[in-house]
Each structure stands twice: as structure tokens, then as C-alpha cells.
């Protein structure tokens, strides 16, 4: 672990990534301490102001401090990303293992399901879901979970298949080792790394998806300060002031940079093939 951090520090982009991710996590966790204003307190007299010392990123149409909303929005983004990705990961791992290790027909069914889910355009699926249960934070989570399970599931299945065909695993199986033992002892340690990287690189995508849903009016409930809702407000206010869109874009870009570079750096680190060659 320590070595890992040391290695990341050796890679400038990885270091930047680590820094940005840490910055995001810290500012989200400490939002209530850092934020100069209540993110949902209205101050209509001061609405649509540009940046100033009083309001670092200006104010929105309700006079709410955008800097504070961005900070609290980080909490929302992190919450959505962590919850939905971890649920999707768990389900994806289980289904992927079943597909890889189970009987052929089960594998086929699961793969068919994965492909079916993948074949819906996300927005269409989101629209139907939102119409069904109404827009809210948990709806966003459900949409993300369902649409990202196939990605993880496929990775795990491929790994499982390749491990299953390994000679030593076949030998262990012949000696009567339980499937559970093989999966937990041999498979899990092997997939955790790639999955972790995949997940960390997925976080920005998830956050961007939330922004898109908010734009279509299908995101979190007001007055929850999410980056997507800040962007959406900004879209509607663009002819009055550019600041809400800028305020909404900055964290999105920074977080994307952070998680992507960190993820790539981790991949270079974990993927032995790559490390050996360079």
C-alpha cells in the first residue's frame, strides 16, 4: 500500500490525480465546515451576481452562493458515485462469476441480459424509469446501477473463464476444492485490481450522467445542490450570466481529471505486463 502511494507519487500525472481526488473527497466531507453559506438559503436580492470576495463563484437565480453549492454538490456526487458503483460492482461480480463458472446455459442467459441492457440508449431507459418512479437521488442511483452492471459483469466473467481454464485450478477442482474456495481464493484477488481501476475511471462518467439527467429534469430533487442541477440552472441562465455553468463545469472537469489520472496510474502499477516492459 505504502509502496503503491510512493509509486504514484513518482508519476506526475498520478500525483495530480491523487491530489485532485483527495481535494474532492476532503472538500465534500468538510463541506459544512468550509462552505461560507448555507447552500439552500435564498437571498433573492443578491441573485445572479458574478464572482466577488463575498461569493467566490457568484450566485444563482435564487441568490444562493454557488461556491457553497459546488462544495455540497461534491457530497451528492460522491454519494451517488460511491453508492451506485459499489452496488453495481457487487451485483456485477456475482453475476460475472456465475456466468463464468456456472453451466453454459446460465452463462448464455446472463450474457443475453447484459447485452439487452446495453442495447437500450441510456436516456431512454432513464426516461422510462423516471416516469415510473419520479426523479430523485435514488432513481439516479438505480439507473446507474442497472446500466453499469453489464460492464463489470463482463470483466469478471472473462477473468473467471480464463482462470477456470488454468491448469492448477483444474487440478484443484479435481482434488475436490469447492467452487466457493476457488472463486474467493483465486478469482477475487485477481479481479479486484482491474475492477477497482475500472470503477475509479467510471466515477466521472457517473457524475456526468447525473448532470445529463438533471438537464432533462430527471435528476435529484430540489433544492439538493448537485453539480448537474447547477449546470442545468446555468443552461437556463446563460444569457444572463455565464457563472453558474462555469461553477458547475469546474468541479466536473477537475474530478474527471483526478479519477482518470489516478486510475491510469494505478493501472500502470497493478498491470504487471505493462510495468515489466517499461
Amino acid at each position: 500500500m505504502l509502496q503503491a502511494i510512493k509509486r504514484i507519487c513518482g508519476d506526475p500525472l498520478g500525483l495530480v490525480g491523487l491530489f485532485l481526488v483527495a481535494l474532492m473527497v476532503l472538500s465534500a466531507v468538510l463541506a459544512s465546515v468550509i462552505a461560507p453559506y448555507d447552500p439552500i438559503a435564498l437571498n433573492i436580492i443578491d441573485r445572479l451576481q458574478g464572482p466577488s470576495f463575498k461569493h467566490l463563484l457568484g450566485t444563482d437565480q435564487l441568490g444562493r452562493d454557488l461556491f457553497s453549492r459546488v462544495l455540497f454538490g461534491g457530497q451528492v456526487a460522491l454519494k451517488i458515485a460511491l453508492i451506485s458503483i459499489s452496488i453495481a460492482l457487487c451485483i456485477g461480480v456475482v453475476l460475472g462469476m456465475i456466468a463464468g463458472f456456472g453451466p453454459r446455459w446460465l452463462d448464455n442467459i446472463i450474457m443475453l441480459l447484459f447485452d439487452t441492457i446495453r442495447s437500450f440508449p441510456t436516456v431512454m431507459f432513464a426516461l422510462a424509469t423516471v416516469a415510473l418512479v419520479g426523479p430523485s437521488l435514488s432513481t439516479v442511483v438505480v439507473i446507474i446501477v442497472i446500466t453499469s452492471i453489464p460492464t463489470y459483469g463482463r470483466v469478471v466473467r472473462t477473468q473467471t473463464l480464463s482462470i477456470k481454464s488454468n491448469e492448477y485450478i483444474q487440478a484443484e477442482l479435481a482434488m475436490g476444492a469447492s467452487t466457493f474456495r476457488i472463486l474467493s481464493m483465486h478469482l477475487l484477488p485477481n479481479v479486484v485490481g482491474p475492477l477497482f481501476i475500472l470503477a475509479s475511471m467510471d466515477i466521472p462518467t457517473v457524475i456526468a450522467l447525473e448532470a445529463g439527467l438533471s438537464f432533462l429534469g430527471m435528476g435529484v430533487k430540489p433544492p439538493t445542490p448537485s453539480w448537474g442541477s447547477i449546470l442545468n440552472d446555468g443552461y437556463n441562465l446563460i444569457r444572463n450570466t455565464p457563472w453558474p455553468i462555469i461553477a458547475g463545469s469546474i468541479p466536473l472537469v477537475l474530478v474527471t481529471l483526478g479519477f482518470t489520472f489516478l486510475g491510469e496510474s494505478l493501472r500502470d502499477l497493478i498491470d504487471p505486463k505493462l510495468r515489466k516492459s517499461l
Partner: protein, 314 residues
Amino acid sequence: MLIYCIKRIGLGILIVMLAVTLLFFMIHLVPGDPARILLGPRATPELIASMSQQLGLDKPLPIQILMFFANLFRGDMGMDVITNRPVADIVFGQLPYTLSLILTAIIGAALIGIPLGCYSAINRNSLADRVTGILSVACITAPAFVVALYSLLIFAVYLKWFPAVGAGEKGDFGDQVAHLVLPAFAIGLSWVGYLSRLVRASMLEVMGENHIRTARAYGLPERLVVFRYALKLAVLPTVTVIGVGMGFLLSAAVFTEIVFARPGLGKLIFDSISTRNYPVVMGSVLVSTILFVISTTISDLINAWLDPRIRASL
């Protein structure tokens, strides 16, 4: 290879049917009475009932979906009750706009993204690599609607280089292309970033592999090694991603079609779901999943052709 093709196509058809059936049940669970929405506020209950009947909504759901497939088998996608036109006409009327948008976006993104990725991989850890890295990653999550809005403001309003809305005059190719540039840019930008990162990563991986190192050891020119061997292999994952990407682009198309007031399949789906225009929803969903399945199938076939190991796995 032939058996693989047949299997893959059969699977595709199965996926389409499953997807359409799932969505059918989903939208019918959704609150909102299509007959009422279609008829507007002044409709009487009798009118609504008669419209429901026209829409076939008075029948149980399984019957409705079976009827849908039965009609489809005869080449009939149903009628849109509002405009009294065949759904097929409506959907295929909108399809070219979205197809041209998506293809322009993806080809444009590939033309810029792949060379960028190569360059970054060859000049790994150079300043240029870092800068393109930061720029392309920053592009990845740029929400399509924000890019769309800003490109409109900059290129259509201030610079007046491109027209703002619509899809151009029918029959005027130049005009249609001019109308395509900004929307394609809006949904393609994130793919430039995505593809360049992907190509960079897979290039680095490939260049570490034995035969490339062997090629190098034989003293083949670096240029030849990169373009002849490494790039060819590195493009493999890119092909897969582009195949899957069609689905994402279709989603992104919804945003750009709204912001650019462009006709297209994405907007048709969005509008018809919000108005609960079920025949049009079913028709457009059918076509869009077929589109997606075709593109993934093609990319799978290309992959199988390039890499025989994949053929064995199905």
C-alpha cells in the same frame, strides 16, 4: 467464421426482441394515459375511450406485445394516431438525421482521437503527452448540452461560421453538412478524449508485448513498428468501443437534438415517451436497438476476424 456469424446474428435478433418487450412492459407501467395526453384537455371520456380502443390499449399487455410482433412480422410497424401516418414513415424519416450525426461525430472523433493517442503513446511522458492527456481527459465528461450551447453561442451567434438550428435544406448537401458540424462537434468532443486515451493505453500495452519487442530487436524502423504492428493491434479495443459507443451516442443525440432543434431519432424517442405515444415509442425503440445491435455485431465480427481467439468463445 460462418457459424460464428450466424450465431452472432441470431443472438442480435433475440436481444432486440427482449429489449423491446422489456421496454414495452416498462412504459405501460408508467403513469399517464396516452389517449388523454394525445387528445388534449378538452377531450370527453367517450373520446378517450374510443382513442384507447384505436390504440389497442383496451387489450391485455401480453396480447398487445404479441400483436406488435405479429404486425412487425408482416412489415407493419403500426400507425401514429395523432398524425395518421405509418410509424415506419415517421421513424425512417428521422433516422437519417441521427445516423448522419452519429457517424460524423464518431468518424471525426476517430480521425482526431486515434492519431492523438498514438502520438501520446510514442512520446510517452513528454510535455506534449501530458498536455494532450489533460485536455483529452477534460473533454471526456464535458456534458453534451454544455458543449452544444457554447458552440452555438461562439460559432453560430458571434462568429456566424455555421447555422444555428435545424438540419438544412433538403437536397442541398453543402447546407446539410454545414448544419451537421456543430451538433457533431458537441457529441463527438468527449469521444476525441476517450479514444485518444484508449489508443494511448492499448498502444503502450501492445508495444510491451513480445513480438513488438522482437520487431524492434530486429532493428525494424520505429515508424514501421508503430504503424505496421502496434497500431493495428491497438485499434482492436477501439473498434469494440466504437460499436458500443453507438448506444451512448444515441443518448447524447437526444441532448444535441434538443439544443440544436434538429430532427432525429433521439428527440423522437424523447418526445414520444413524454407524450406516451406508444406506437411511435415502440417503433423508434425497435429501430434504435436494431441500430445498436448491428453496430455491436459488426464490431464483434471485425474483432473475430482480426483475432481468431474470440471466435471460439461464443
